[in-house]
Symmetry: C2
């Protein structure tokens, strides 16, 4: 266990730690302004000047926000909201190691929040020197391991190099790392492949193992506690497959885990890397959780570029002027749409097939962080916390759910993500434009169509408009811009949590389902040991219920 | 073009065609009942008896709905809602060929809706004999083609068999077929593989082509109009790759298209199969749009099993008693949660990795169908139409966004989908339970936890409960149950559209974005022809706007 930060940082954060969102003067002000939000459908509302000036930049990304329902008055009120809530001040204190993962007056995780320290490793000093030193230490271990693979010093029992790596993990040990790998597959080392097993679904593991030469495969097992049900089950399943193939699992298996966990056992793993309590699963993609797999698949240099991009965005997020801080501005625009204009969801729409799993990562990062019902003082929230995040890559989405976004009865704010040039560069000029131009043209056209709408004599062909969106644009999806994009959304989520006065770093809401599942499994195991066993015989009504549901699940008649 | 159905069917449908949702007496009744919905957190609320009796079955699926906030009074009112709106009557008339894809008094597609006819081919008579005969005709062509591949009568220029098929399509020509193929990959013909290219993103096509031996690859191009931008662009890209590899594209390319479309050209394709105007893209997975690819990948017998399962569910959907009709009941429960309990979204949560893309298919099928703002008489809706559909397979989701579902400020109704046994059967007993049992136990535990909640001294560990869900369970994910599941959701969506009095079969909302994209591409093409070209010189303010956005997208300073 790490020690909580010094009392100084805790004292610095306390003025902001209990400020309720609806007690801020900007809250009332924004409520007033929301009665008549900027009308994007009015003539001249979306002028070329507005498009050019409602734009900010950092770490390779442009954020274009002219298609939001904001004007100068709203932006000024959002600036005050950021200041009153101490969003940037808290962000800086977080980076320095303040214990922000806690609920005052109640048992809670009581931890620092130091994912930013993983990439605060490029300057002469880090804001959280101890955590950054830990991160560097693990990166050095990884660099040595990767070099030994490269040099042929680490090979399989037959003396052959390893070509494949299977990452076993779930939640934060799967979604973020997988999203990054798929995004950057264009940069992978020739001849190397990475695969992922996450679900407890046995078909998932079976389908992946069936396509592999296990003799040349490394397995990277990732679990901070070393006791995650799905991960342990899949590790057993895969170890069994290795044993059946006559291979010694301990020469193939790597561990990424917490110090002292049941998995922290050198006898069972070829190499072990550490993850720390100050980094939550959903913020851990740039720790060893993602780094081991990315280093194997893309190479150490590309891994460092990801960290460089993330660090650049973390620095940009320290900027107090919201018009110069894309992460903060995106957070505030989200709050404007969600809490003041009443939109329940947010669509993330990347116009890049490589970002096919990035929305799934953001679902976790955002919804697990901000899907909360109590303040950091344990009081029930009197305002909405995190939105529902969903989406699919465009232009596919255009041929699927965009109908509802344009003409449905719900208003869905959207965040478009695009790139000016393609990754592979294998493109084709058809009718004088490239595929990449078609992609970007579609992205921009959607943002404008949603905003301006269009009248029509035929009511079924009418577009009401005033559907807000923002556009994130970079030159190309590279390791650096991918790192920046990841950090942009991490910071956005954290800023929103600070402003809503919720703890964005715990996940108590996942416990009850786990507990009930364990009880039902005890019931199943009891039936297997003793076919006459019946959970219903128990006088525990919860168990009787589970038994009834379990019987139906097993196809027994009720 | 097909002819509209006879006047008899049109006359039969007219009593229901203009009944407004908020004019039905059940609407008012449900509004009253929604003031005090069933409390799932009360002691004894979720009894074993309730769990056993709130259950219905069809075509291999159990629907368990005890964890919905309904009681006998609500179910009776929902039954009346179904009757007053003529949901089943309209469904039957749809199957017989009534012209239900229309808006009265305004220009509209004016088409029949006959996707059910594709699988109404097993009995002595079909409800829509002409459409079913067309479907059978295409299936026979397909059977001949597949047999010729099998027999070695159709081979590549070198006399080798085809091992791979790339499906090029987007929207309905991609999502449904892809979801089915991934769901049933366990049943594929050894040595054959199917791939999909959909996005206009050039990286998408490049990544797929880089792993293929084109000489042994068939390409199936799917577009009803033969003019879909993404599909035509990708076809050109892939044809170019074939030509560069010294291969004759016309010996490798198949077409699935409408009669008379630009793609209906035997000189350019090895074989052509037809799709018809009476089947919308998002309902077309069981037409040739999915069948050619599924026949190649899984074999004709498995394809027929998919159709059999779908047909069985289509038949079950004709049942007027809502407690014996899972599709109708699911539609009504959805309306109860959405329109009366105020839930804006619906999470679809399959506990099966094989269903990894099924939610994406449902996003299209549901949101493109029911994301509408006007009635079938062109009047603005005074009630909410289709919900936002989202979700990911469990148990992955449990480690991602379930935090918000359990403890967020928004209530998210959920539909869980599970199977009692696994597809591959490669499972492992750990602590006396199998992985499949762990999967099912988690599914049931989530449904119960969401419903009952749990008190706690620590407010951050409190679960409010009363979060509704339904569970769909089948013995195993097979071609038959997959077909049934597909048809279940198609029927659900259609029933909801009938009850909301909207046209679930058009998609006018996708037009404006397309139009603006075309204008922006004209601007890009102009710049390429003449570097001095500026769209801004035009006095068309819309063009100036697009040009400004386009300049930013190209990285030119504003």
């Amino acid at each position: 266990m790490e020690q909580p930060a010094g009392t100084r940082d805790q004292r610095d954060v306390s003025p902001y730690f209990s400020r309720d969102f609806n007690g801020l003067s900007a809250w009332a002000e924004l409520g007033e302004l929301a009665r008549a939000p900027y009308d994007l459908t009015a003539s001249g509302a979306l002028s070329p000047t507005r498009i050019r000036s409602y734009r900010t930049q950092a770490a390779g990304f442009d954020l274009l926000y002219s298609t939001q329902r904001v004007d100068e008055a709203v932006l000024a009120a959002l600036q005050r909201l950021a200041e009153e809530s101490g969003a940037v001040a808290q962000f800086l204190l977080m980076k320095k190691g303040a214990v922000l993962n806690r609920i005052e007056g109640y048992a809670s995780e009581d931890r620092q929040v130091l994912h930013t320290a993983c990439r605060d490793i490029f300057g002469p000093v880090s804001l959280a020197p101890e955590a950054s030193a830990q991160a560097k230490g693990e990166l050095e271990k990884l660099a040595d391991f990767l070099a030994a693979l490269e040099a042929g010093d680490i090979v399989n029992a037959a003396g052959e190099p390893f070509t494949d790596l299977v990452q076993i993990g779930i939640g934060g040990s799967d979604l973020g790392p997988r999203a990054l790998y798929l995004a950057l597959a264009a940069y992978k080392i020739p001849g190397r492949r990475v695969h992922f097993i996450s679900n407890v679904d046995p078909d998932d593991a079976a389908a992946i193992l069936s396509g592999l030469d296990l003799a040349k495969t490394l397995v990277n097992v990732v679990s901070k506690s070393g006791s995650t049900l799905e991960t342990m089950t899949n590790e057993e399943l895969v170890r069994k497959a290795f044993a059946e193939a006559g291979l010694e699992p301990n020469l193939h298996f790597l561990a990424v885990t917490g110090k002292g966990s049941p998995m922290d056992n050198p006898a069972r793993y070829l190499r072990s890397f550490y993850m720390f309590d100050s980094i939550g699963g959903r913020y851990s993609a740039t720790s060893m959780v993602g780094a081991v797999m990315l280093g194997f698949g893309l190479g150490y240099a590309h891994l460092m570029d990801i960290l460089r991009g993330a660090n650049a965005m973390d620095l940009a997020a320290e900027e107090p002027d919201i018009r110069c801080n894309p992460a903060l501005l995106l957070a505030l625009l989200g709050i404007w749409n969600h809490n003041f204009l009443g939109c329940e969801t947010l669509a993330i729409l990347p116009y890049s097939q490589a970002l096919v799993r990035f929305t799934a990562h953001l679902q976790q990062c955002d919804m697990e962080s901000n899907g909360k019902s109590v303040t950091r003082q344990g009081k029930p929230l009197a305002w909405e916390s995190g939105p529902i995040i969903w989406g699919e890559p465009g232009t596919n989405g255009q041929h699927a759910f965009y109908q509802l976004i344009h003409q449905g009865t719900a208003i869905v704010p959207a965040e478009f993500i695009g790139f000016r040039t393609s990754q592979y560069g294998r493109d084709l000029l058809i009718e004088q434009t490239t595929s990449q131009e078609k992609l970007v043209a579609n992205l921009l056209a959607q943002a404008l169509a949603l905003a301006t709408g269009q009248p029509n004599e035929n009511p079924n062909r009418r577009f009401a408009g005033n559907r807000p969106s923002a556009v994130l644009l970079a030159d190309r999806l590279t390791p650096y811009t991918m790192g920046a994009l990841l950090a942009l959304y991490e910071a956005k989520v954290v800023f929103q949590g600070f402003i809503w006065n919720i703890n964005s770093f715990d996940q108590e809401g996942v416990q009850l389902g786990k507990k009930l599942a364990t009880r039902l499994l005890t019931h199943y195991a009891g039936q297997r040991r003793d076919p006459g066993y019946s959970g219903e015989a128990s006088d525990d009504p919860g168990r009787a219920l589970l038994a009834a549901a379990g019987m139906l699940a097993k196809g027994e008649s009720g």
